[in-house]
Amino acid sequence: MYDIKEYIKVSSLDEALDILDKRKEARLICGGTDVLIKVREGKLSDLVLVDISDITDLHRIEKKEDGSITIGPAATFTEISENPLIKAYLPMLAEAVSLVGGPQIRNMGTIGGNVCNGATSADSATTLLVYNARLEIRSAQSSRQVALKDFYAGPSKVKLEEGEILAAIHIDEKDYAGGAGAYVKTSTRKAMDIATIGTAAYLKLDGDHVLEARVAYGVAAPTPIRCPKAEKWAQGQTYDEAFLSEMAERCQAETSPRDSWRASKNYRLQIIREQCKNALAASYERAGE
């Protein structure tokens, strides 16, 4: 039995926004795989939960006329990994979300929850960061857009004000087309585990000439991060073994992993270097296809 005072299922985003606006103690639940665990641990109590999991609009994944792709926040990891648009245009995201937990968790957990929970280990967040994702945040009164990279306030904290809901995730065509990416996850177990380090990479090449390289890490810092200095250096380089080694060193320099029971700092630094190379190499292979 969870310590929940009231449960309200809503059938539209406006309904949810209205309740959040009028009742300050109300909180969203969608997949429930993070919220209910927090309740179980006593971190949240006496809750009024607003369930948005059955709002069809929020599950929608579509490609707009301008080529941008919109992902509804209530889309489950299973829905995302099996969606034809995601598989065609954002294959790295399909790959990343298929590595979360196990099948049952992927059937319940949502990308919106994964992002808004703010964990540095969120596989979808690291990947969305490499895709330069934009978030559409709505409240009863207003609507705003924020880049995912500007959405973090600190470890496990996102810039979501009272009464606000993540309404959609947008990825522009220029950020997903013309190149290829890969997501690599190192974890203690092969499934049902969070990332010890998660790496998302994206390469745009002209033959072996690097037009653009993007690298994002999860669990290499208090929040998911990109490696802007390394990425700037990468522009114009020639893709070869030396490039990979150099990128590994430069990316590692922009990370700040910690010691924890899961892995020591030194081990994480090694994974950061190796995964950088692996993710970029996989991107290169895919770009050549």
Binding site: Y2, D3, Y7, K9, G32, R40, Q104, M108, A191
Partner: protein, 166 residues
């Protein structure tokens, strides 16, 4: 940790009237907002086949099918199931005959204490009904949300692999 014994003296709680279908049978129930689907199935409907292993969505012993997907019922709220269709292990045998997947588990010695078995059978049954031509590795990935402490898994994967061929 906040835990309360379920079902007794639920005063001052905004209970919810829900309607759902459990193994094809319509059920109209009144549930507590903090009640999990697992608790509803076991404590209100007395369907004891679905087990509580960990209570935090890690072991899969509580796996049931809700509408089109398998879920961990211990972290699925009962109120959420309003209007939905649930399948539990009790629904897998029809007219006293166990299902083909259940038979395969028996034939391959895929259980010892049997506690994880309902969860495995529900997950494996879903896989059989929804997936096609899986390699042994892909089968393992599809069973990754279910834990077993007794068998060492090989007999379970054998059972599922064998039944998927049928």
């Amino acid at each position: 940790m906040r835990w309360r014994l379920p079902m007794k003296g639920q005063v001052n709680k905004m209970t919810q009237k829900i309607t759902c279908w459990v193994n094809g049978k319509k059920q109209c129930l009144e549930v507590d907002p903090g009640e999990s689907l697992l608790e509803m199935l076991r404590n209100r409907l007395f369907l004891m086949g679905t087990k509580k292993g960990c209570g935090v969505g890690e072991c899969g012993a509580c796996t049931v099918i809700v509408d089109d997907y398998t879920v961990d019922s211990c972290i699925y709220l009962a109120s959420r199931v309003d209007g939905k269709s649930i399948r539990t292990i009790e629904g897998e045998s029809k007219d006293g005959e166990i299902s083909s997947m259940q038979r395969s588990f028996l034939d391959h010695n895929a259980l010892q204490c049997g506690f994880c078995t309902p969860g495995f059978v529900m997950q494996a049954t879903w896989v059989k009904e929804n997936k096609d031509k899986l390699s042994r590795d892909e089968i393992r990935r599809m069973l990754a949300g279910n834990l077993c402490r007794c068998t060492g898994y090989q007999s379970i994967i054998d059972a599922v692999e064998d039944d998927l061929k049928k």
